[in-house]
Each structure stands twice: as C-alpha cells, then as structure tokens.
Assembly symmetry: C2
Homo-oligomer: 340 residues x 2
DNA sequence: TTGAAAGCGCTAACAA
DNA sequence: TTGTTAGCGCTTTCAA
C-alpha cells in the first residue's frame, strides 16, 4: 500500500519520531539526520497522510466556506480573494453551498461537530444568536463576510456610503427628482442603501419624496434583488406623470438591468431622458455601460482569511469590525439633467 | 473536551464497538441495544469525528474538484449540479481553483498523496499522460468534465453538433454568406466548433470561404475566448466590403458580446443588417437577446458525480465517454437574410 | 449479539 | 538529539 512514516523510518535507519521531526521542521533534530531522512522521503516519494496528521495534531488545515448558491461576480471575486490568500497558509477550502437559507445552520452544526475544519467563513448569510453562542463558547473560529453580528468578526461593505456616493453623483449632475428602487428592507444592505440615499438628499437640501421610493416586492422567499423585481418597480416609477424622476438609483445592478428594460420599453432613452445608477458592479454592468458602485470583494476575502488564520493560530482579540469603502464606477448611464 | 465514542459507550453501558455498530447501522446489533445507544447519542449530542472515521475506514467522504479560476455561468451551473448531487451521497467538496494551468498537476499530486479525498473531478483542464498513468495504476477515482482523455471517464459537450446547430439555424434563415469568429484552434472546443460550422455548410452545399473565418488572436497565454478578441475579430470581418457576411457564428457568447459592440460601432443593426449567434448561453446572452447554443452543465455535473461515486464504491468499468447534446436557444439576434 | 483489542498513520511527551 | 510509546477517535476482527 501507500508508504507510511514507518517505511521512511526504516529506510533512513531512524525512529518514526525523528521522521516526524524532519517533516515538521522541528528544531530538535540535527541537520545531518534531517538530511538523511529527507533523502529517504524523496526516495520513497513519501507524503504524510493528511487525516492522520489532522487527528494527531487536532488541526485539519481546512476551513469551511459557507455561501449561498452563488451566482454572479460578487461571489466569484470574493472566492478568488479567499482562495488566493488561503493557499499561502497551506489551507484548503471545504465548500458548502446553501440553496435554502434555513440550511445554513445545518452546515454550522456539522462544522462544529464533525471537526473536519479549523474554522468557518460565513458569506452573506445570517447566523442566529443561538449559534453565535456556540461558536463563542467553544472558541471555534468564524468570520462573517457581507454579514454582521455584534459578537463575531464581521467584514461588510459600507452600503450606506455607497448609496450616498451614487445619489450624490446624480445630484452633482443637477438632478433633484431622484427616484430609488430598493429591495426588501428586511435585508440589511437594502436598508442601509436607502439610508445613504436619504442622507445624500438631506445633505443637499433636497426634499425626500416618498413617491419616489419603490420597494421591489416579490415572494416572501426572495428579497427583491433580481431583474424582474427591478423591471416591475421601474414600471411603477414611470407611472408618475407630473414630476417624474429624471434619475434613479437602483439598489443593485441586476435590478437595474430590469429597470433599463422597462425604461426602453416606454420609449425613453438612457441617459438622455433618465439617468440610472446601480450597485454591485457585476459583469453585466460593464456590458450595459451602467454606472454603479463597486464593492472590494477581493480585498474582503483576503482580509477575512487573515483574520481567520490569526484566530486559528490562537490569537485572542475582540471581534474585528471592518466596513469596506465602496467606490463609484462611472460609465454611460448618467448624464446632466435635461428637462427641468 | 468534545464528546467521543467512549463517552457514549459509558453512558449507554456498552462497549465502544457496539456504539460503532449503532452509528453505522450494522446488522450485528440487537434493536434494543441500538435503541439504548441511540438514546445516549442524542443525550450527549454525539457526532463522530470525521477525521478519525476517515482514518479508520480509509475513506474521507470528500472529493476534490479542480477547476480553473472560474468566471461565468458555465462553472456556476456545473458546480450547482455537482454540489446538489454530491450531497445525496453525504460527500463534501474540497475546492481547488487553479489560476495557472500548469498548477493543475500540483493539485493532482496532492490529491493522490495526501489522501484527503476519495476521488477527483477535473474540470476543463488537461491531464498529462504521466498523471493519467498514476491514476489508472493506483485505481484512484477521477472523472473529467469538459475535458477528455482516452483512458479516463470523460464528460464533454458535443461542440461540433452545437456549432452545426447554430450554423444551420443561420442557413435556415436564408443566409449563405456566413462568417465565423473562433478562438485559438489549439483549444479542442474551438476546433470542434469550426468543424461543426464547416460541416453545416457542406451539408447545405454552401462553399466554405476562408475569408469568412477569423480566429481571435491574442496572447499565447489566452485562448481567445474573451470579449476583446471578439471585438477585434468582428472589426476585421466587417472590413470585407464586396460580399460581407450577412450573418456570423461566434464561438462563444463572451466573444459575441465584443462582436456586437463592433457591429454597433459601425452603425449596423442586429439582426437587420447582420445576424449573430453565439455559444454557451451565459447569463449575459439573455440580457443581450443573443441567440446561442446551450450546454447542459447542470446535468453534466450530476452525471459526473454519479460516475465518480460508483468508482469510489469500487465498481469497475471501462472509461465512460459521454458527450452531451447541446440545444439551440433562439432569441432576437438572428433574422431572415435581407440584402442579397 | 457483544466486548476487548488491534490497528489506521500520525504527533508529542517522555526517557534515555 | 534521539527512540519509544501513548494517545488522537474511530472501525473491525477475534473471541466469547
């Protein structure tokens, strides 16, 4: 069968402990015997059995990443950052993708009990206080990304600031009748984006008009961050005839795609008749020429790994809270206000 | 610390062997003692340690999935299928994403030696004969997806048939001057797509015109399956003034996106002035209203898992070769030929 | 049907 | 600095 540490020991004429020391670069070994062992290892093409190591060390060198069935650029970028960084630590990723939000806890439970992994990255998913307690009590390392909980390390995006940026961009172009299409406010990002929008208006002495706010409604299961919801919302916004908005901030690019379709169907042009700005900077946005707000997903993934690794290494610290700044990506979907 | 099999045994007043039998639904246990043990398990919230189980069973219940740093719908769909199916077998996915093709073998090697996983799914990546031999000799289960090797199970897409379908669709619309934008022919899919195109022409007695073929050229590292390459290629195709193509088959949707941009820049309309059909059915295609060819990624992922699981279960068989049929997705980018 | 005990392949404490 | 040995937490054989 496969070559084990005993084979190496025999070949090198040493004990298995010594082989183990050689493998783990222990200081308690003379360079000569290490050389001897290393040679035997190479001869036999020996590589330690990961599970056996894990069992003995009580460390698996794997972390679980729990993500909603991902779709789109957001998660790809994030994953890229995580993957890149984690390989530096010789860790591997165990992928748990969640198709129904309720299943999240199932994975958290497994993670905690099966001990297949040394830590968890939880992406865009909420965690109940009940489970937070379990993680805190057992000191099991976990980092939240695009999600937040008081007692846990949480990396999020400055949604409010992003929305502020987007809205201000429209204001700077002279718009005062600015609509907003948002998702269900039970979604924290959606709520923060609305607040950023409102703050921008306030700061520029523009009266907030409730009629200009349309919440993408849809099934309870969904949150409204989808194309169809954006389409329907825009249709509704376009019904306003007296003082129709000359610009609209849409809470996500995917909704904006739907909104744009609705606008075109009404025979209106972008940005001549109406300016549109989105949020997320998904791949589609580039193609559509949609101005939008970009979230630094790659960087978030990287930092998340760094924090997690520190915790796995046993460094204590109070929960890290980091909100990443967003940045405006200007393309062709916004212009100076024409009609007044 | 965590609760082990010994705790359960003590609580239930049995030996650890018996607990093990209860856990694994062994027939060699009376229903009464099993009930007793199950009760203790529940009381203690016991769950077996995955690594210890793996070590003893010589089975880890994990499979590695090696994919190129994925981007786009193709891999997402695939992953969805894989994930969905694999959870039925109580298996988990260890994700290895490859940023440079040459690193593939590094992962293959680790996979073979660290024994962290029971099998491998290799996606869209080539494997050298050298490694094929290793997998075959050690009987280590591996399944290729969107890649092919004589001696290994390989699931691929009928690229030729797909291209044939696309080209035939254009022919059916009356087009005879049909251009093709392809990627580097060193890519097998690219090559097969060209052949499908040529076969369709032949079957319909249309003379193949070498001037209508443009290969997206680009860095050696890249294969030409990208937007910029499609843009450049289309520009070139539009230079033809005498008998310019009235339709064009583009080897991928992403290239088609670039091609469409080029067409619009020349003041031409789609599909009035020129019909365009792509390949892949990425998310963008839907938005662009691009007619294209769809690959059944979800199904491929599912089948791949099924085959892999059989191999892990020890079922011998000669390499499975399955080519999935593609299907035409008709949207708005193709129309009857106008100018003759 | 059950319990005891011998591995699975490694790490780490201990003694030399 | 080294070898020996006792775990790590489980499965599985062997007796009973």
């Amino acid at each position: 069968m496969a070559v084990t540490i005993y084979d190496v020991a025999k070949k090198a004429g040493v004990g298995i402990g010594t082989v183990s020391r050689a493998i783990n670069n222990s200081p308690k070994i003379s360079s000569q015997t290490k050389a001897k062992v290393d040679h035997a290892i190479r001869e036999l093409k020996y590589q330690p059995h990961a599970l056996a190591q894990g069992l003995a060390r009580k460390r698996t060198n794997m972390v679980a990443i729990i993500v909603p069935v991902f779709t789109g650029y957001f998660y790809l970028e994030l994953l890229r950052g995580i993957q890149q960084e984690i390989s530096k630590y010789q860790y591997d990723l165990l992928l748990f993708s969640v198709d129904q939000t309720e299943k999240t806890e199932l994975f958290l439970k497994r993670t905690l009990q099966e001990r297949k992994v040394d830590g968890v990255l939880l992406i865009s998913l909420a965690i109940s206080d009940n489970y937070v307690k379990k993680f805190v009590n057992t000191q099991f390392p976990i980092v939240l990304i695009d999600s937040d909980h008081r007692e846990l390390d949480s990396l999020t995006v400055e949604n409010e600031q992003g929305a502020y940026l987007a809205t201000k961009h429209l204001i700077n172009l002279g718009h005062t009748r600015i609509g907003i299409i948002d998702a269900q406010l039970k979604s924290i990002p959606a709520k923060m984006r609305l607040e950023g929008y409102q703050k921008a208006l306030r700061d520029h002495k523009i009266q907030y008009n409730r009629r200009y706010l349309v919440i993408s409604d849809s099934d309870i299961e969904k949150d409204g961050f989808n194309r169809e919801a954006g389409y329907a919302a825009m249709k509704q916004l376009l019904q306003i005839d007296e003082d129709r908005p000359t610009a609209v901030f849409v809470a996500s690019d995917i909704q904006a795609a739907g909104a744009i379709k609705a606008i075109k169907e009404c025979g209106l042009n972008i940005p001549e008749d109406i300016s549109v700005i989105g949020f997320d900077d998904i791949e589609l946005a580039q193609y559509m020429g949609l101005s939008t707000v970009r979230q630094p997903m790659y960087e978030m993934g990287k930092l998340a790994v760094q924090i997690l690794m520190k915790k796995i290494a046993g460094e204590e610290s109070k929960p890290v809270k980091k909100r990443f700044e967003t940045r405006l990506v200007i393309r062709d979907s916004c212009d100076y206000v024409r009609t007044v």
